[in-house]
């Protein structure tokens, strides 16, 4: 019997980057999983949490917990949203022992996409091919909160004909930062351009990341600068057969 996984596609992938979500489904199915999408899902609550609206964040987090309470495994195509759930729900519900029990029961079953994939024994069956020069952008929360530095690179290493070139500023923030990107647009934009310069120096044709929010920022800055480099979610690369 095929093992089943629930996916939480995140609001930004759902609304703006459905291709990344579909690619993730494709990859999971190729590895033999039965994928379940719970239509009650919306957002992980991070926008409110980061902006200082803890009550609103709690309400939305509870909705997430209710939605996924009985899911065995939850896979998320975002380091940032995963970290919100696995690291910061505990901040939100500290002192509320009843909810904390539910949080503690849930969080060990939530995985960022690359984190989850790397634990699978049959990665060869992916048979991904992507004959391009690619550079990888470390998204901040995946890197610093989840410690995902090697996992995405190792996965890229499995892709046939893919050439990975590291950029110098790989670990530097792209400048997105949620509401920061619009509240402090000029600083955010300047940060994005630094990142773009670093991407361009590699000569890569694609920049890959685990987070669609970073990719939206980078894509926006790349296209504003008139650069041809394309942005892709890791799932899209792994789903590709060249």
């Amino acid at each position: 019997m095929a093992r089943s996984v629930a996916i939480f596609v995140t609001c930004i992938v759902d609304q703006l980057f459905p291709k990344a979500g579909l690619a993730m489904v494709d990859v999971l199915e190729r590895l033999g999983f039965e994928v379940e999408f719970r239509s009650a899902q919306t957002c992980c609550a991070q926008p409110a949490f980061n902006s200082g609206y803890q009550d609103e964040a709690r309400a939305v987090a509870l909705h997430f917990i209710d939605t996924f309470a009985d899911a065995e495994t939850i896979v998320v195509p975002s380091g940032s949203c995963t970290s919100m759930i696995t690291h910061h729900y505990a901040d939100l519900f500290a002192g509320d022992s009843k909810t904390m029990e539910r949080v503690n029961a849930l969080t060990p079953r939530v995985f960022e996409f690359s984190q989850f994939l790397l634990g699978q024994p049959n990665l060869d069956s992916l048979a991904a091919r992507f004959p391009h020069k690619v550079t990888y952008h470390d998204s901040c929360h995946a890197l610093r909160e989840l410690g995902l530095k090697d996992a995405p690179r190792r996965l890229l290493g499995l892709v046939k004909d893919l050439e990975l070139v590291e950029m110098e500023a790989a670990e530097e923030c792209c400048g997105f930062g949620g509401t920061f990107s619009v509240k402090f647009a000029q600083i955010s934009g300047a940060m994005a351009r630094t990142k773009v310069d670093s991407i361009l120096q590699t000569g890569a044709s694609h920049v890959v990341s685990l987070d669609s929010s970073c990719l939206m920022q980078l894509r926006g800055a790349l296209s504003r600068g008139g650069h041809k480099v394309e942005t892709l979610h890791l799932a899209e690369v792994l789903a590709s057969r060249g």
Binding site: Q15, A48, Y53, A57, A59, C173, F184, I187, G220
Partner: protein, 459 residues
């Protein structure tokens, strides 16, 4: 008060300044990474854990240790001055200088004195205070405040310095750094020999021995606390650590975190005035312990952690925002991530309300902090307090939270939003969308959301 947008715009547009900030902080940042790498310092993470634990413990028992420190300083023949404000600290110094007829004061290594604008207060009383560290000296001549908490003139090029020296000291225009250092040295040696008082800061205060620890690379602090007849050290009360034997933990971390140095060139452990039979050292020693809001911060369980800071500057070098806007666009002497946290706490939240929001919460600061201050977490807590006074923003988030708990409505709202964006790809150019587009393009909205695609897929 809102962010100084036009000053920030100017900084961002100044290509030379951008290069200076980015490359200088980048060098510090890279050196730090190398210095704490597992092959260099395998116990690095343990040291951080210990340093944080020691600081936390000290803050929890600060009252006890401060009194222990005072006793030890007395035993060494010095005197502790308790200053609840910068004004009180300055008053004491002015009075002492007048009493001892010391009109010239040399200074070294003291962000705390910058914090209380000591130089201005002394000048106001016809006392001349001269900064003796090269960077600070250049800034004093130029009339600027520190740009960075450990490398105050990091934004200046040797050409800038040549201009300033020619204008202020009347020396020939010379852009060779070594010659500039020699010029400063010539001027400053004279000052050291004639000054009646030397004022230093303190990196650490040792409660058990009553000692003041000062680390530096230039050696000016050494001259400042030993050449004049009177040495005044001025430090915030949080600079304390309980035992001399704990110092090693912090010295292992401080230089490496600041600049990648295993140890700075000089580490002075000053135990008060000259004793009987000793040949040198000052005749009088005073330790000014400054509160200036720190006890209030100590009483705030949400923000107390920021008092653990040892002012290494690593968070500034790691911060992508600091590396763009530089130090002078922050409202106070403490810039960068730690400035964002302690400025609202010590200088008032309302008039510095923009600071905690000027962060992408990337976490680079928390990652490099040698005493494990969770700066992003502190920023979020500050935001929590500050949003109370923004009703429009709050309403927006209320609506958002309502929507996010109603999947069908959320799906519908998404569809409407995407349809409008598709029909008018460049429309709705106001609010957040306009702000976004002022710097970059907004992606084309897909006709179907993931959930739409999923439904079709399952049919």
């Amino acid at each position: 008060m809102s962010a100084p947008d036009s000053a920030i715009r100017q900084t961002l547009a100044d290509a030379n300044l951008q290069l200076a900030i980015y490359s200088n902080t980048g060098r510090f940042k890279d050196n730090r990474v190398k210095a704490v790498a597992p092959d260099q310092l395998p116990e690095y993470q343990d040291l951080r854990t210990r340093a944080a634990a020691i600081k936390r413990h000290t803050l929890a028992f600060l009252d006890v240790y401060l009194l222990q420190l005072e006793n030890a300083v007395n035993d060494n023949g010095g005197k502790v001055i308790w200053a609840s404000t910068g004004e009180e600290a300055a008053e004491f110094i002015v009075k002492l200088a007048k009493d001892r007829q010391a009109n010239l004061i040399v200074k070294s290594k003291s962000m705390t004195s910058e914090e209380i604008q000591l130089n201005e207060r002394l000048a106001h009383n016809e006392l001349e205070a001269v900064e003796t560290d090269l960077g600070e000296y250049i800034l004093q001549l130029a009339g600027q405040r520190p740009f960075h908490i450990v490398a105050p003139a990091i934004h200046m090029t040797r050409h800038d310095v040549a201009d300033i020296f020619t204008e202020k000291l009347g020396v020939a225009h010379d852009t060779v750094i070594e010659n500039q250092a020699m010029t400063a040295r010539r001027v400053l040696r004279e000052k050291f020999l004639t000054a009646g008082i030397g004022i230093t800061g303190a990196n650490f205060l040792l409660a058990d021995s009553g000692a003041v620890v000062i680390v530096e690379n230039e050696g000016n602090a050494r001259l400042t606390h030993s050449a004049p007849k009177i040495h005044i050290a001025i430090a915030g009360i949080e600079k304390l650590i309980p035992r001399t034997r704990d110092l090693a933990v912090f010295l292992d971390l401080l230089g490496r975190s600041a600049s990648g140095q295993t140890l700075t060139s000089y580490t002075s452990i000053v135990t008060g005035p000259r004793r009987k039979g000793e040949l040198d050292g000052p005749e009088e020693f005073y330790l000014v312990l400054l509160d200036a809001g720190r006890t209030k911060l100590l009483a705030d369980p949400d923000q107390r952690e920021s008092l653990q800071c040892i002012r290494c500057g690593a968070c500034l070098n790691a911060c992508p925002v600091y590396r763009k806007i530089g130090g002078h666009n922050y409202p106070w002497v403490y810039s960068g991530p730690i400035g964002k946290v302690i400025t609202p706490a010590l200088q008032g939240k309302e008039n510095n309300a923009w600071l905690p929001f000027a962060s992408s919460l990337c976490g680079a600061c928390g990652e490099v902090c040698p005493v494990k201050i969770d700066i992003p977490g502190l920023l979020i807590k500050l935001r929590k307090e500050l949003v109370r006074s923004d009703p429009a923003d709050r309403s927006a988030f209320r609506v958002w939270a309502w929507l996010m708990r109603r999947p069908v409505m959320y799906g519908l709202a998404g569809r409407i939003g995407r349809t409008l964006l598709r029909r008018m790809p460049l429309g709705f150019n106001f609010g957040p969308l306009a702000a976004w587009r002022s710097e970059r393009d907004f992606p084309a909205a897909p006709s179907k959301s993931f959930r739409d695609c999923w439904k079709e897929r399952k049919k």
